[in-house]
């Protein structure tokens, strides 16, 4: 029996190959993702370990509140003296390693996208982590060394000039050396190294360090030294400092990176899951059709004495072998994909360090288990159906297996699943659960609904295919008519094929609608609530701008007010981690329109240090009202009690976060001395374009990183960010779409094989090859459009449901009709492309063979 399975697979090798293709893409993404993250993590481990060579103990500040950019606050340099006095310390030194901007001599940004740029200080040779690979180390306040990869990207050579921007004005430097961190390329990150006082000055950390590095005297172990340092600092540092051995520090740094990359890992695996889910539909369909076509063969085997278990085994072993083959190919494709993915990521500016690909045994095992598992599970139902073939099937022409009167059962199962799925989604929406659990529940709900639809869809196929086919019949006449009929002939086959496509398109239309909703919500806020005509922001809107730039902008002729807004992540008593903003009360009301639940704009312009305005959500969550005091813990470890003076109404997309304080309070208590962005109000009667030009010109010399945007440009820059992300999602979803197109191809080929005699007759009575091709193409288009329409409807429903709870935050759902129509048209075109090979195969059928075919 086993050899029969092999022979069967071999005889249908092309079909088997196509079936395998349904799983290959998903497995490739799984394997590729693991390879990519293993490689990246390994590279970061290396980098951090090597860069801590010679460092036995590190001292950094403890993170009180996790900040969104991951930055840790600096600490006072007076602790260095304490550390130096510890017994067993050979050498200790403080250093700066802070985010900044590296510009070329023209003031244009180097590097790009999301990749961060750092300003670092030079350390004594024993403790230095950057290796000099060319030129010399910076010796004067005007010299800088740059990491080799960054220099290459920015086309800077030794002797060239560049500018560094920290929290103040841009400062010019001359490149004197090239460096490497940990002997590897540090991804897209750029590091500029200057003398310590220069770095402190640039980053606004005078008399402060980001880190103290210590080397022990010989004979003193890092652990011993660590204990001693902790003892020495205990009284002085009030527990604000973190003392680690060099190895611990390296481990923590790479763990942090691992954590932040795990998001990427999960996202990519989710897309792999989608693609595998779609693939399972394709496999289910292929096996169902194959089992139906082999009814006579199974009947014959039964007459020869095969029992049901043997029949089941032949089908399942076939599934196992296809799964095994697909997984192996998937792992190989994954190798290429890992490289492709890192290319995609670096194209959007998120370079990862490059090293030889790491292929962990776990990657292979997981890929094989998933690949074989998905194939086996998907082929189980068809395999069970094959066991119901009676021996008499060998003799008679048309034995149809499978029950017909199960429509009510299907309907009940579909209804139960739909209710359960929607219930799961609704429970998340109502309870307001957030994070991973919510995503898991939502995903589970969505899967239940999709499965329910595909169980019930055979009932929908007839009317829908008939409607979609009607125009084709008008255009194509008989070929259209036949395609329309053929697509309804085997409703469950068409339904499953279309359902596979539906999944991908539901997701595409969902993200399209949602992204367009975000875009239009942002546009609405900008139109309605931003009274300032101009906005100042850092490159790409990600990096902060110096507060001095805002002050300077306010003095420019034609600018009535310039108001800077800063952000910090804080922990609120009874509210958890929240985003807090600071404003300049005297000008904020001129540039921003804010709605209040309790209080008024006067409370905003009259906001004083020590006071706070909170969001409606936070007020009810923490149970505080106007006049109450609220303890707010900041990244510096200080925890002032702030008095609530007003409560904001939701509906501004949380433009100012959950808490609003004054800029002074922000600098004093929370250590943030840069603005995230600033809004400018032009004087009435001034031409906005002229003022914009003037502000750009005036700021360009001192603050080249600051962009001046008018409202249209602001909208555009917001949309660009969203659309960039959207493009990435499209690329990953395309994988699922390709899998479902493979499904259309295989299903068509199988149907054509089934209708060989019919096609032969059509050819015999005069149908031309062109007409045969057109008929197959039309059938593919009907199936594709069927899937597309179902997908669009589902996507719209999901977007609508998820939009409801966001409405109160000012989210407006909008339906990008032209884009959705374009998606529909593209799907129809994809259907035509999928039909190319099957149509050619159908047209090539030899008339004689077709007619005498049994």
């Amino acid at each position: 029996m086993l050899s029969l399975t092999f022979k069967n697979l071999w005889a249908r090798k092309w079909r088997s190959l196509m079936t395998a293709l349904a799983v290959v893409f998903g497995i490739a993404l799984v394997a590729g993702t693991y390879m990519l993250t293993d490689t990246t993590n390994g590279a970061f481990d290396d980098i951090f370990t090597k860069s801590n060579e010679g460092v036995d103990v590190t001292i950094t500040s403890k993170v009180k509140v996790e900040q969104q950019d991951g930055a840790t606050p600096a600490f006072s340099n007076r602790y260095l003296q304490t550390v130096k006095g510890v017994d067993g310390v050979k050498i200790a030194a403080g250093s700066i390693f802070s985010q900044g901007a590296i510009l070329d001599s023209e003031g244009d940004s180097t590097g790009g996208g999301f990749a961060p740029q750092f300003i670092a200080s030079k350390l004594p040779e024993e403790l230095e982590s950057l290796d000099l690979v060319g030129g010399a180390e910076p010796e004067t306040a005007k010299e800088v060394s740059l990491d080799e990869a960054a220099a290459e990207r920015a086309d800077l050579k030794i002797g060239d000039r560049l500018q560094l921007v920290g929290t103040g004005r841009a400062t010019p430097f001359r490149v004197v050396g090239l460096t490497q961190l940990g002997g590897a390329s540090f991804g897209g990150t750029s590091i500029a190294q200057v003398l310590l006082p220069v770095a402190q000055e640039l980053t606004g950390k005078q008399d402060e360090f980001d880190q103290i590095s210590v080397q022990a005297e010989s004979g003193v172990s890092p652990e011993e030294l660590k204990t001693k340092v902790i003892e020495a600092l205990a009284s002085a540092a009030r527990g604000d400092l973190r003392v680690e051995t060099g190895a611990e520090n390296a481990q923590r740094n790479s763990d942090d990176i691992r954590d932040s990359l795990s998001f990427l890992n999960i996202a990519l695996l989710a897309f792999a899951g989608i693609s595998l889910f779609v693939g399972s539909f394709v496999i289910f369909n292929v096996f169902s059709i194959t089992v139906a076509q082999r009814t006579r063969e199974f009947g014959m085997l039964r007459t020869l004495g095969a029992n049901r278990r043997q029949i089941l085994a032949t089908v399942l072993i076939e599934g196992f072998l296809i799964g095994l083959f697909a997984s192996i190919i998937g792992i190989l494709v994954g190798l290429g994909l890992a490289k492709g993915l890192s290319a995609i990521l670096s194209a959007v500016g998120a370079d990862l360090p490059s090293k030889a690909l790491v292929i962990a045994p776990r990657t292979i095992v997981v890929s094989l288990v998933i690949g074989i598992g998905v194939t086996l599970v998907s082929s189980l139902i068809p395999a069970l159906r094959s066991t119901r073939v009676p021996p008499i099937a060998a003799l008679s022409e048309n034995v149809v297996i499978g029950g017909k009167n199960r429509i009510w059962l299907r309907s009940v199962i579909a209804a139960v699943l739909t209710v359960a799925g929607l219930g799961l989604i609704a429970s998340v929406l109502i309870s307001g659960t957030e994070g991973g659990d919510a995503a898991l529940q939502m995903g589970g709900g969505a899967i239940a609904v999709v499965v329910a639809i595909s169980i019930f869809s055979p009932q929908l196929v007839r009317p829908m295919a008939s409607a979609i086919g009607a125009p084709l019949q008008k255009i194509g006449g008989l070929t259209g008519r036949l395609a329309r009929e053929n697509s309804q002939r085997n409703p469950s086959r068409t339904a499953v094929t279309a359902a596979a496509l539906m999944i991908g398109l539901a997701l595409i239309s969902f993200v399209t609608i949602f992204a367009s909703g975000i875009n239009s919500s942002v546009t609405k806020v900008i139109d309605q609530d931003l009274k300032g005509e101009l906005t100042l922001q850092g490159p790409g809107g990600f990096t902060p701008i110096p507060i001095k730039a805002v002050t300077e902008a306010g003095k420019i002729e034609g600018v009535q007010d310039a108001s800077g807004i800063s952000f910090s992540q804080v922990k609120v008593d009874g509210g958890g981690s929240k985003s807090m903003s600071s404003v300049q009360p005297d000008t904020i009301s001129q540039v921003l329109n804010l709605e209040f639940e309790q209080g008024s704009t006067d409370d905003l312009s009259g906001l004083e240090d020590g006071q706070v305005i909170i969001s409606e959500g936070l007020a009810s969550q923490a149970g505080v009202g106007v006049g109450d005091n609220l303890g707010v813990l900041g990244q510096t470890g200080r925890k002032p009690e702030l008095t609530v003076t007003a409560i904001m109404a939701s509906g501004n997309l949380d433009l100012l976060g959950d808490l609003v304080i004054t800029q002074n309070e922000m600098i004093r208590s929370f250590g943030v001395d840069t603005a995230f962005f600033a809004l400018l109000k032009t004087e009435s009667g001034e031409d906005v374009d002229t003022v914009q030009k003037r502000v750009e010109d005036d700021l360009d010399k001192s603050f080249p990183t600051v962009d001046v945007l008018n409202q249209d440009e602001l909208k555009q820059s917001q949309q660009e960010q969203i659309n960039g992300l959207l493009a990435l999602i499209y690329v990953l979803l395309a994988l699922a779409i390709v899998v479902s197109l493979v499904g259309i191809v295989v299903t068509l080929i199988l149907s054509i094989y089934e209708r060989t005699r019919e096609l032969g007759m059509l050819r015999a009575v005069g149908m031309s090859r062109r007409q045969v091709k057109r008929m197959v193409r039309y059938e593919a288009v009907i199936t594709a459009v069927l899937g597309a329409i179902a997908g669009l409807i589902l996507g719209i429903i999901f977007a609508f449901l998820l939009g409801i709870p966001l409405e109160s935050e000012g989210f407006v759902l909008s339906y990008p009709i032209p884009t959705l129509i374009l998606i529909l048209v593209l799907t129809a075109v994809a259907g035509v492309l999928a039909a190319i090979y099957p149509a050619r195969k159908a047209a090539k059928l030899d008339v004689l063979e077709a007619v005498s075919y049994e």
Binding site: L478, E485, A764, S768, R769
Partner: protein, 254 residues
């Protein structure tokens, strides 16, 4: 297209021939495995006659019909259909030939299950995008006795009815030649008789040319002429006498 198929061939044969096979050979396989299915067959079919082709299994009768109808190509020799050498036609021209000049009736009916009886009958016209001559369509449907079954699907028809639909489908284009491949092979005797009467009637009433392959003496007896093959060669060519005489003939061939 039309013009390439119409050539002045009338003058060649006094009694107008419609299909003419000259020196037709068909060899399958090579070397040791070589099979001579047809071994030099010369035969001419006149317009408006009903010819039956018989022979034991493997005699080459089906191969001959396939080649005459352009479904298969001979290894050597030529086939003229209505004056055109069809062995030189490409696929597009053959398709056109089938639309314009040929009709088929198969053993397994070969109706499209998704179409009604009438739609199946009109299929060749629809494929060729030709307007049906409604009077003629009605007449054909009337003639095959399916007027009250027009809108039934094949699954709702008996085997005999299905085959009558197939005959109507072949007649509706008024083909120059109607090929029937074991048209009664899958029918009971009553239905067989009906179908054979229809074919006979089409010859007598409309001057249709029919070439039929069969292994049933009763069926062969309906024709005007009986040719028989053995081992790829033509061994008998005469008007049929009676079914019993045909059985005798077959015995001598076997």
């Amino acid at each position: 297209m039309e013009s390439t198929l119409e050539s002045p061939s009338e003058s060649e044969a006094p009694e107008t021939s419609i299909v003419k096979a000259s020196g037709v050979e068909r060899i399958y396989g090579e070397g040791q495995a070589e099979v001579r299915a047809l071994d030099g067959v010369d035969v001419t079919f006149e317009k408006g006659r009903y010819t039956s082709i018989m022979g034991p299994s493997g005699s080459g009768k089906s191969t001959l019909m396939h080649i005459l109808a352009g479904l298969d190509k001979p290894t050597a020799g030529t086939i003229e259909v209505d004056g055109t050498d069809i062995t030189r036609l490409d696929d597009g021209e053959l398709t056109q030939l089938r639309r314009d000049k040929l009709g088929f009736v198969f053993q397994f009916f070969n109706l499209l299950p998704v179409l009604t009886a009438e739609e199946n009958i009109l299929l060749p016209l629809s494929i060729a995008r030709r307007k049906p001559d409604q009077a003629w369509v009605d007449e054909v449907i009337e003639r095959v006795g399916l007027t009250d079954r027009r809108s039934h699907r094949p699954s709702e028809l008996s085997g005999g009815q299905q085959q009558r639909v197939a005959v109507a489908r072949a007649l509706v284009t008024k083909p120059a030649v109607l090929f029937a491949d074991e048209p009664t092979g899958n029918l009971d005797s009553k239905s067989s008789e009906d179908v054979l009467q229809l074919l006979r009637g089409s010859v007598d009433e409309y001057g249709q040319t029919v070439i039929m392959v069969t292994h049933e003496p009763d069926a062969a007896a309906h024709g005007d002429r009986l040719i028989a093959l053995r081992d790829g060669k033509l061994v008998h060519d005469a008007p049929p006498v009676s079914a019993d005489a045909v059985i005798e003939l077959l015995k001598t061939l076997a």
